[in-house]
Amino acid sequence: MKVYVINGPNINLLGTREPEIYGYETLDDISKKCIEIGKKKGIDVQFMQSNFEGELVGWIQDAIKNKIDAIVINAAAYTHTSIAIHDAFKSFSGYKIELHISNPHLRESFRHVTYVAPAADAVVAGLGTDGYSHVIDLLLDLPIKVN
């Protein structure tokens, strides 16, 4: 199984940006942990991060082209604004999980709208940076069609 874990704007600041909300783990810590879990389970996990909306759209399109089996996306602030990500996500026919470190629905009202979730199969939020590894840990149990 091949999985892209796509991360949006400011996720590169993890560990230093408002750690009381996002925790002290860096994106590098998280990706190492997930890749490690993936190795044990035979899942090819690829992490990516960009602050640019178009680059995130490009990676979703790459996932279609490269026949990736699942996408885990933390579109961060673009979650609440990006119809382009919504459209790209819809075109990807593999398994789709929207992930957030905090729970956007417990925060400012401008974070309550999500354009990503209606195009996703599942949403995981509010479990801290551990949310990523919990998701990777369960992937083989989910009804994911492997290309």
């Binding site: 729970n103 629905h105 417990l106 996703a120 599942a122 509010g126 551990d130 949310g131 919990h134």
Partner: protein, 155 residues
Amino acid sequence: MKNKLLILNGPGLSDLSVYDEFYGQISLKLIEEKCLGVCNELDIEMDFRQTDDENELFSYLLKDSEGFDAVIINPVGYSHALTAEFARYRLAIKTMTLQKKPVTEVHIANIFKQGSDITKPLQVPEGEMGFVSGLGVYSYVLAINAIHKKLNKAT
């Protein structure tokens, strides 16, 4: 001492046949068995309940939850309940989160998908709450794994 986990299922969850199309044949019994298996593996004591009575659900949440280290709740459409009901509900969740007890909201289906009649998650004003929606029975499993990790980190 074993961690104690309360899993609450709200009104309507006694019949899960509406989910068959996406999640295969699932039943509350099957979810309970799956949760019990995971809890046994992680050495967690589980209490799994379902009620169609909103008052009873509220009482479980506000009173009974005192004896537990963590709560998982599938509120179904409770987030669309009347304002007065919802305020009581938020109070109960807030009480737990302020005690630093992990609370996670779970849903079998993705509640944001078009056509779903539950359109918004619970909103509590303070504290933190996990949210897992759309993984079928594995929404519960992921929530249990996350709670286990969190409780073991804290001690």
